[in-house]
Amino acid sequence: MATKTLKNFQRNTAIYVHFPFCKQRCKYCTFLSCCNYNLADSYFDALCKELVQNARKDVVITSIFFGGGTPSSVDAKHLQMVFDAIYNNYSVAPNCEVTVECNPESVTQQKVDLFVKNGVNRVSIGLQSANDNTLKAIGRLHNYQQFLDAVNLFVNAGLTNINADLIIGLPESATDFENTLNKVVNLPLTHLSVYALEVYPNSQLDQEIKQGKLAVNQDADYLANLYDVALEKLSKHGYNRYEVSNFAKQGKECRHNLAYWRCQSYFGFGASAHGYMDGIRTENASDISQYVNLINTQGSAVVDSNLIDVAEQMDEYVMLGLRLQRGISVTEFYNRFNCNLEDVYPNVGKLIYLKMLQKREDYFTKEDYISVRPDKFYVLNEILTEIL
């Protein structure tokens, strides 16, 4: 049974590759990134080694995601190395989703051509705000016009799946945020990710706020109101909130992110990358030099690995699945874990009664789904603490 279960969810596997380089670090960022491109040669050598060493032909790759950092800012030769290492060593499905994260200023015709040539069919562009003053204030290197130019380059190259990242709660007014929304809804985009700004202690942003150079409103209600504005506006323009922070036009949901939320397996390559293969969650070294060193000396940069037991798997399945508008499939849960969702989590019934969760049958698949009521996503974590 266990092997069957494992195979089932490993059949569709994702690959995440981390590109820890940026021309300049955004003030709010806590992801691993570094501005010293001199490390790139040794880093991508190591990265390709890692890709080769983990090569498996028994899984089918259905999504590839280049994240960062800023993958689009990396030299063409390095990008090509990574593409080659993947395509030469993995069984990539013909319709595989291949996403590259970009920053507008680093999108050139040359890069776009390289991406298209290598099968990239989805790009995710960091816009954050359409307000040039805001962009400057948070340390972004581009303005709104550059974003438009980048979108044009991709559209002209035939890309039909373009995401833009937006941030709620930047040091700007509510009106500025609405302006951003008004602008992006009319662009040829198909997907929007909307996250709230988090001010991490000791980040540059944090320091500048403390010094009084920047002001942000972190009040949860204020932010929730902005989120509501986004929800309403985006819905009107054909965007469906398929996950708490992600909006997509029909059929343009991000397959790679769905893999995370549906507890599918994924490889995590590169410094600080997380992977989930064969029921084991792994974490790579988060320092570039350490990563390179570990790959070259030990053949693996994994610094932490945890076997996820069945109880944990079920918890994760619920925790991540309920982020989706669709919710969790009761049938799939049963097939995967061989027990009933509501037997394992007796509070589900109570939460349905309290009108926090809802249960409905999918018209096409005839499967029962348990999902968070659309107006209760605000208390998702509370609901989860009740269930788990």
């Binding site: 995440y16 994240g67 709620i168 709660g169 990710s193 996250y195 709230a196 988090e198 949860a220 209600d221 932010l223 929730a224 989120y227 708490v244 922070s245 995370y260 994924y266 995590g268 990358a273 997380h274 992977g275 989930y276 969650r281 974490e283 945890n306 918890d315 994760e316 925790m319 991540l320 309290l354 926090m356 209760k376 996503f377 605000y378 208390v379 998702l380 974590n381 509370e382 609901i383 989860l384 603490t385 009740e386 788990l388």
Partner: protein
């Protein structure tokens, strides 16, 4: 025995009792100067921090006067009104008392009360005028006041400064020459000793603090107590307070000391009881103490429900040397199993709560303090109710009575206005106002006790910038328009938040509590209406809006662990809360309503 002197010290708070005691010990060589720690006898942290004495503490000193060696036993006593009963206990074990009077402030009401107690107990009283080093000291005025208000001659009163160590030997000499030696009723062979306090030690069992009136006791003696007839104990250790416990061969008539007899059950010893020989008991026990009646009640619950037994043990041990503390099991829907505890006053309540938390390392949730009401039912019965949840339904109540106290506020004349305003607000009835001297006024009011226990003292202090002091004694019961105020959270009554309150006050209190709860209860999955109700009538309403924060979660990419940790943390936080129906209420919410500024 003729060389023993047993005495206590009576003084108002801040008049320097503990400092004088320190000095006496230092002068008799009981404690080397380098070991001197301010206020040595106040051994509890709380006592030192608050600068007050709560427990009486005995100490034995040796002093030579005109070539003769004397043993002086001092039994330190607390000064606050709440601890009156402790005073009466130490008085019963002494033949004399030092009456310490602050040279700049004169005789205070509380001093007077204790002084009368001492006179009733036939104690020889030696006035001592302290703080003569202060620039504001007025020795003649203090002397005159002692003679006028108490009727004692202050002519020979030692004039001292305990702080500066001035004229301390005068005090010691006066103790030797003026306090009578202990006397016994003829030649008595059998032991007769008064238990004036107890402590519990994990190794020795109950340690009895005792004053021997007749006979003697030593290791190996078989003893028994009058009230717990039948049980006999073998004495394992006897000793004196020097000032820490020091074993001696035997204690005989006149001595003050301690006795251990492997007594493991706390209830086997009762303060005020008489110890005697098991084989040859004396005929009559000593006169015990007046039973003290608690005036203020509150529910005490462990913050962690599984600590119920720890709380029970702790209360049992505190009760051992605090006869005034009463407790009985209580159960609350919101707070689970706990105890309904009775106290002598608010300070007593605070002290007990603090001791439970510090000495026994317990986390507590306490409910609003209540007084004991007389409830007359339609059946013609009278019930004493100190717990709002025990109040019979309104239809069964004919009428209710509440305790009234005679309250005396002392303050400088410029604060008379604010003080009277406060007393009036608290439903006080003005009795009179007298000038104690040009600098101090005594304002007498009759005030319902339930107003006193509700924020009176703090408000008084803040409105008079700390200059006013308060004394009160219970006067009796009067009929009052009292109602039960309940709080509903999301439609469910939370029993631990119910209070009995005067009808006129109910609206304001209901509104204040609702506001406090609104701030103290975290936002949750759904909107929580908070309602204050009397019967079926809603008199105040607040709303805790539903949470809206989870749409703002940051994406961690493939890093699931971080997300899991966050959820676990949130879950942990939730575990520490109490469930009232579907609402999670943090312990602080119950406490927050106890302090409401007006």
């Amino acid at each position: 025995m003729k060389n023993i002197r047993n005495f206590c010290i009576i003084a108002h708070i801040d008049h320097g009792k503990s400092t004088l005691a320190d000095r006496l010990m230092e002068y008799t060589g009981q404690v080397a100067k380098r070991d001197m720690e301010a206020q040595l006898l106040d051994s509890m942290d709380i006592e030192r921090e608050r600068g007050i004495t709560i427990k009486l503490t005995p100490v034995r000193m040796n002093y030579t006067y005109e070539g003769v060696d004397y043993v002086l036993n001092l039994i330190d006593t607390p000064g606050h009104v709440d601890f009156n009963y402790e005073v009466s206990r130490s008085l019963a074990a002494c033949e004399g008392a030092l009456l310490v009077v602050d040279a700049s402030q004169g005789v205070e009401a509380q001093t007077l009360a204790n002084c009368y107690l001492a006179i009733e107990n036939d104690l020889e009283i030696i006035p001592v005028i302290n703080k003569i080093d202060l620039p504001s000291a007025d020795i003649d005025a203090a002397k005159a006041e002692i003679e006028e208000t108490i009727g004692l001659s202050a002519e020979d009163a030692p004039l001292v400064s305990a702080k500066e160590g001035l004229n301390i030997t005068d005090v010691l000499d006066a103790i030797v020459t003026r306090v009578p030696a202990p006397k016994t009723d003829g030649v008595a062979n059998s032991l007769k000793a008064l238990i004036f306090d107890c402590q519990y030690d994990n190794y020795k069992g109950v340690i009895i603090f005792t004053r021997i009136f007749e006979g003697s006791v030593k290791v190996g003696s078989k003893i028994k107590m009058f009230e717990t007839k039948g049980k006999e104990f073998d004495v394992t250790e006897v000793g004196i307070f020097a000032p820490s416990m020091k074993p001696v061969d035997q204690l005989s008539a006149g001595d003050v000391g301690y006795v251990c007899a492997s007594i493991k059950t706390v209830s086997d010893t009762k303060v005020g009881d008489t110890i005697t020989d098991a084989a040859n008991p004396c005929d009559q026990p000593l006169t015990g103490y007046k039973e003290v009646k608690p005036m203020v009640y509150c529910g005490i619950f462990p913050a962690d429900g599984s600590k119920y037994n720890d709380l029970k043990d702790a209360l049992e041990k505190l009760k051992l040397n605090d006869a005034a503390l009463t407790y009985e099991p209580d159960v609350s829907v919101a707070l689970g199993f706990g105890f309904r505890c009775g106290f002598l006053g608010l300070l007593h309540m605070e002290i007990i709560q603090e001791r439970l938390e510090r000495e026994f390392d317990l986390d507590l949730v306490t409910t609003a303090p209540s007084v004991s009401y007389r409830v007359y039912t339609t059946d013609g019965e009278m019930m004493l109710i100190d717990n709002p949840t025990k109040l019979p339904p309104v239809t069964k109540i004919d009428y209710m009575e509440e305790p009234i106290v005679a309250a005396y506020v002392y303050c400088p004349p410029e604060y008379v206005g604010p003080v009277m305003e406060l007393c009036q607000e608290k439903r006080g009835v003005f009795i009179d106002m007298t000038y104690v001297d040009t600098k101090r006024v005594r304002i007498a009011y009759d005030i319902p006790l339930n107003e006193i226990i509700y924020n009176f003292f703090d408000t008084l202090k803040s409105r008079t910038r700390g200059y006013a002091s308060l004394d009160y004694e219970v006067k009796g019961y009067v009929r009052g328009k009292l109602v039960k105020l309940d709080m509903l959270l999301n439609g469910e009554m939370c029993d631990a938040l119910s209070i009995i309150v005067n009808e006129e006050r109910a609206y304001a209190r209901g509104r204040q509590i609702a506001e406090k709860l609104k701030d103290a209860i975290p936002r949750q999955m759904f909107e929580i209406p908070i309602q204050a109700t009397i019967g079926n009538k809603v008199i105040a309403r607040e709303t805790v809006r539903a949470l809206r924060k989870d749409v703002l979660a940051k994406c961690y990419g493939g890093d699931i662990t971080r997300k899991k940790k966050l959820l676990e943390k949130q879950k942990e936080g939730k575990k520490r809360m109490r469930q009232v129906g579907s609402v999670s209420v943090p312990s602080e919410a119950f406490m927050s309503i106890l302090k409401i500024d007006e």
